[in-house]
């Protein structure tokens, strides 16, 4: 394998991992606050279509990114009102949000099918971003660096800051947090909004960076992988990074192996690999702990109402 191929594989790997990492980081924060939002795929699609529509109409990918972020938040707010204010079942509401997102994005995107825009480019000057091997580090777009910064930022926020502690308290024991005087619902709203914003950006990574176009169901199920990764990571940002890049690596290497004519496994088996890996890791984790709860926030998915 020549170094050029290796560099190219690494670039593809990073690009394949980034949208999943973004969406999963957002979901991680929401879940840490005790909210299970299964609507990641729907929020990603709304972000993807809004990002593309605005970038196409305005000619600015930066505006597109902001639109995607806002669209993600707006979609998340639909969930928040139903699940947090009206105490609807979170699982059912999240699933409904995904189905809603598929339909809404398809409706909004109908006029943009078959159009394209300039790809979201690298942020460093060409001397670095197009260098034969330095581009592995410097050749990426803003969302790649943002996602990596967020891994550190969110980890620090949750572990080392007071607001992070409060957010975790809300997710672990909402009644106690409420008794001490913290606004449980408001904190959960904020966490869900943050999750929506990152899911929106993750979706926009498809329509602005990976494949600059809009087509129905553009994200093709990546939102579900992001959800699985949050569990896989045991709600830790560092492990989430590993998981997302592992997924990106398996997906990329699968295709590279096929292109190289290496057929050690049937393509169908290779296509199953990322999902098998998730199941395997989940099983190992639960065997290792024997607590059966995998460090999940204790109030995850439970409705809260201050009586």
């Amino acid at each position: 394998m020549t170094s050029a191929i290796l560099v190219s594989i690494l670039m593809t790997l990073v690009a394949a991992s980034t949208p999943i990492l973004l969406a999963a980081l957002g979901e991680l924060v929401a879940e840490k606050a005790g909210v299970l939002n299964l609507g990641v795929e729907g929020m990603m699609l709304c972000g993807a279509v809004a990002g593309f529509a605005v970038a196409f109409s305005s000619g600015s990918t930066t505006l597109g990114l902001f639109a995607a972020l806002l669209a993600g938040v707006a979609t998340a707010m639909v969930f928040a009102v139903l699940a947090l204010s009206l105490n609807a079942n979170q699982v059912a509401t999240g699933l409904a949000l995904t189905i809603f997102g598929i339909g809404a994005s398809s409706l909004i995107g109908a006029g943009f099918v078959g159009r394209t825009i300039p790809r979201l480019g690298p942020i460093f000057p060409a001397a670095l971003s197009e260098h034969p091997w330095l581009r592995v580090v410097f050749g990426h777009d803003i969302l790649v660096y943002l996602s990596l910064a967020l891994v550190i930022g969110i980890g620090f926020f949750l572990r080392r800051t007071r607001p992070g502690l409060i957010l975790r308290a809300v997710g672990e024991n909402d009644a106690s947090a409420h008794a001490i005087g913290y606004p449980v619902i408001a904190i959960r709203y904020a966490a869900v909004a943050f999750g929506g914003a990152l899911a929106g950006l993750g979706g926009a990574y498809f329509s602005l960076a990976l494949t600059p176009m809009w087509a129905d169901r553009l994200t093709a199920g990546r939102g579900w992988i992001a959800l699985a990764l949050v569990v896989f990571s045991a709600w830790r940002p560092g492990r989430l990074l590993v998981g997302a890049y592992l997924f990106g690596a398996v997906a990329t290497l699968e295709l590279q192996a096929k292109a190289a004519g290496v057929s050690f496994l049937a393509p169908e088996v290779l296509a199953m690999a990322p999902y098998l890996a998730t199941i395997a890791v989940l099983t190992m984790m639960s065997l290792g702990r024997r607590t059966g709860r995998l460090d999940a926030p204790a109030c995850l998915g439970k409705p809260f109402s201050a009586v």
């Binding site: 593809t12 087509a215 169901r217 295709l255 292109a259 190289a260 393509p267």
Partner: protein, 359 residues
């Protein structure tokens, strides 16, 4: 006139249909002919389903107020499709097009229950008194782009982003490769199975992997324009799929195999109106207008352009068949004898690759 079917309208349509026999022939002749379409994907896919819907719109434009079309999109293949087809039948449609291979058994099943309604099933092989089949010889288009690839690839190696190894796809790969080999006897075609019809990010990554492994021209048998965009990004050439995809990759897009169902839909609807419709098996190619090539990119060399036009002319005139023997599979077994051409039977069951294809 278009209508996306809702349950309420369906009920109304069913009621209207049940009263029709009482009204008598005169009134019936004035009512627009109901034509239904069942799609496997969303019409917004800009791919296979989109091309069928373009055909529906063309028929609507052509026949105007004489017909009333409706469609159901995202219908899953398999038993549930029968429900969708039955809905359209009960809504008073007199001609129903079911546009995906997996609708074959449900179409036959529903057609038995509605003997007076005409059905048309795309890409299948089961017919009945009131069920016709139709398909397009896309492999003819593949032979043209294979010829172009043979001329335009400096590395002599194409990357093929494919979906699933079904006969339709295998046939396309072989046709492409055989045509390219005629130009460059050492030509290699590398196939990556994306194991999906539609996953833009994965299709793009598959194209990138093929480019990394030395391909300098990309073609695809998946539905999105993503492989084309990957080729544009890497500065190499590629071909569009199902529709003219130039807008996605103005530099990379050499041409595209364009599906065009409009002529067939217009004609068959006319035949139902005239009462001359018969159950037939239509397999149309470039000659019949089912398959077209999108305008050639100016970057194409004069030699490639001339050769592509030559192949097209040969196919239309019937002097050139993309599958002319002797053709051997990779085990060396002769599949098409010297001087013979592959029959429809051989084509529609093709599960072997010709020499030089890495799949």
């Amino acid at each position: 006139m278009t209508s996306i079917i809702t349950r309420r309208r369906l009920t109304f349509g069913a009621a209207a249909a049940s009263t029709l026999p009482l009204v008598g022939r005169g009134a019936q002749a004035q009512a627009p002919l109901g034509v239904g379409f069942v799609y496997v994907g969303p019409i917004g896919d800009h791919g296979y389903t989109w091309t069928h819907d373009q055909g529906r719109l063309a028929a609507e434009k052509h026949h105007g107020a004489k017909i009333k079309t409706s469609f159901l999109e995202n219908v899953a293949e398999g038993p549930d499709a029968a429900r969708a087809i039955r809905q359209l039948a009960q809504a008073g449609n007199q001609l129903i097009f079911t546009t995906s291979f997996g609708f074959m058994n449900p179409t036959i099943q529903v057609a038995k229950q509605f003997p007076k309604i005409k059905f048309e099933h795309a890409t299948g092989y089961m017919r009945a008194e009131n069920v016709a089949t139709y398909n397009a010889r896309f492999y003819e288009g593949r032979a043209v782009i294979g010829t172009i690839a043979g001329h335009m690839s400096k590395a002599g190696q194409a990357g093929y982003v494919a979906s699933f190894p079904i006969p339709e796809v295998v046939m396309g790969i072989n046709a492409f490769h055989l045509a390219a080999r005629k130009v460059n006897p050492n030509f290699k075609t590398k196939v990556v199975w994306a194991s999906t019809w539609y996953d833009p990010a994965k299709e793009a990554d598959a194209a990138k992997a093929l480019i990394d492994q030395g391909a300098d021209i990309i073609t695809q048998h998946t539905d999105s324009a993503a492989p084309l965009q990957a080729a544009e990004q890497r500065g190499i050439f590629a071909f569009g799929q199902a529709s003219d995809m130039r807008a996605f990759a103005p530099k990379a897009h050499l041409t595209a195999i364009v599906d065009d169902w409009s002529g067939y839909y217009i004609r068959r609807i006319q035949e139902v109106m005239d009462g001359t419709w018969k159950s037939t098996d239509t397999w149309g190619g470039i000659k019949d207008g089912f398959v077209r090539l999108a305008p050639f990119n100016e970057a194409m060399t004069p030699a490639a352009r001339a050769a592509a036009e030559e192949v097209q002319k040969g196919i239309v005139a019937g002097t050139l068949h993309p599958f002319t023997g002797e053709l051997k599979d990779q085990k060396g077994e002769v599949r098409v004898k010297a001087g013979e051409t592959a029959s429809n039977e051989i084509l529609s069951k093709m599960d072997w690759f010709v020499d030089g294809v890495q799949a």
